[in-house]
Symmetry: C2
Subunit: 325 residues, 2 copies
């Protein structure tokens, strides 16, 4: 394994990427590999004129050691003077803007305004964070996930997720801008040259879903010579974190490791997955899926610490090796 | 006196405006008046995508009780997490951006982007600060003061003033955008209906100068029925604060109360001023100017405290009354 590509959302994708970096670090037992992390941009939003890319920032901060370790997103030792001032102006926003985080948004916004692409901006921000992987956005064009609610209203995903805590039933998700978007320049070459593609245990509908909504990325997964191994974000019938169940419900997909695998589909039958890694608790699902043509294995999937996460990644890589062999 | 208009720059203009507000408050000995402060926008600048209006902010913060009392600009109890983060990204800017101040810039920037005019944005910000005067920008269009340096380079005024501390000789000042700008909607009606127009002891070249560069404002000063009284920013041959001398030098105007009055010009001879208030130390200048047709008086001009400032304003109003009489 020399080149690994990860499709990743925010918190879960970032923690998983820590394990990928460790599993393929120089001197690792599986051998070193260069790692490209393709980050979801569907959660991106413009607030107060600031271009905010929550998942790319979570990836940068997590891999760069600047993340708030408790909540898994946002800066460590964050402070909120700007928010307090906005509140004094009567602007009590539902989106938390920390002062330290705002510096990142200011730079991104002004660099984008100066003509840099989101890929270039992300690379510049990475000069500080030194994530140890190549972090690229799924697309340099805006692709924003919107939610059509049961009452017919359509809101930005962040508004539904953060403001309403996904408590209002969703009818469907739309990826605004996706039709006109292209994969960021590094994405398709990375997939074409990959030795292993990993789908992080991120929200399959809105995080990985928004990546796959960029025209050309799903096709590149179909044609990559590398095995494509997914890691289940569902353990024992519930999302490990986040509210993926609320997203799956909108599609009438059961909240189970098995159903999410089927949603991605088996590559032999036109789907995306060669292999699917589930938690030990979902061993039965692995057995069922194995009969349907998936390479499937059950291992402990909780990302308690870096060792546990690295172990998960090694298990995914081992599953990939059986596809190759 | 029922309606007073003040032309004002930043720190000096804001302190002067405190005195105007007090001198014409309900129950004041001179009688109450509504006060319109026309603020300079020539210092405005866009940094990191934030639209910053230093003079309007200084006026709002000063009149609203939120100013840093030591430096006379910026927010009180300011903190600098964003600046520290920008520095961690390698962005060590010459322009100080405080966290609390940034909230104002974020709101202004996003409100402007949503289509509000600078007048409307300023009125919205004033809902919080309740400045007790009507604060209007000289223009809703960008008018940015640039400096042509002796070496031929041209830089934004802020870069010369803040970054270079006006230590590089200036050759001339240009008001970018002024030709295409119009006075903000409230400016010309306020001047036409005024009972008294005061020119604050602000920098005559770049603060008041940028206001007068907006087409129509100088003409409205010529035609207003109100007396136009200026207050000298120069005391005893030196600027009270700031570096007006460096600006006057570029025009070969001596740094004296007398020379600045002549630069504005006597209204009887096509200039702007009916009257000119100088400090006691410049009594000789007042006598010379009086012979040239100016109403002139010498009083203590230092704005030590609100009482001193209010006294200055009352002296200016008294000078105006002699014009009327």
């Amino acid at each position: 394994v020399g080149k690994v590509v990860v499709l990743a959302g925010g918190v879960g994708g970032a923690r998983f990427s820590l394990g990928v970096r460790a599993a393929f670090a120089p001197g690792a037992s599986d051998g070193a590999a260069t790692v490209t992390v393709v980050g979801n941009v569907g959660d991106d939003i413009t607030l107060y004129g600031l271009r905010i890319c929550p998942d790319l920032d979570t990836l940068l901060y997590t891999l760069g050691g600047g993340i708030d370790p408790e909540q898994g997103w946002g800066r460590d030792n964050e402070v909120f003077s700007v928010r307090a001032e906005l509140a004094a102006y009567g602007e009590t926003g539902w989106f938390t803007l920390g002062d330290r985080d705002i510096a990142t948004h200011l730079l991104r916004t002004s660099w984008l305004a100066s003509g840099l692409t989101l890929s270039e901006v992300t690379a510049r921000l990475a000069r500080r964070w030194r994530p140890g992987v190549r972090l690229v956005p799924a697309s340099d064009q805006p692709v924003e996930t919107h939610v059509e609610l049961a009452d017919g209203r359509e809101v930005h995903f962040q508004e539904w997720w953060v403001r309403a805590h996904a408590a209002i039933p969703a009818r469907r998700f739309r990826f605004h801008g996706a039709e006109a978007a292209q994969p960021a320049p590094a994405v398709l070459p990375a997939l074409a040259e990959a030795d292993l593609v990993l789908i992080a245990p991120s929200n399959p509908v809105v995080s990985v879903g928004a990546i796959l909504a960029v025209p050309g990325i799903a096709a590149a997964l179909h044609t990559t010579p590398a095995p494509v191994i997914g890691v289940s974000p569902i353990i024992g019938g519930a999302p490990v974190r986040g509210m993926a169940d609320a997203c799956l419900q909108a599609e009438n997909v059961p909240t189970s490791a098995e159903a999410v695998a089927r949603r991605y589909g088996c590559r032999r039958e036109g789907g995306l997955l060669d292999g699917w890694l589930v938690d030990l608790r979902d061993r039965a699902a692995a057995e069922v899926l194995a009969k349907e043509g998936y390479r499937a294995a059950a291992v402990p999937l909780l990302m308690h610490d870096l060792d546990a996460t690295t172990g998960m990644v090694r298990a995914a890589a081992a599953l990939g090796a059986t596809v190759r062999g």
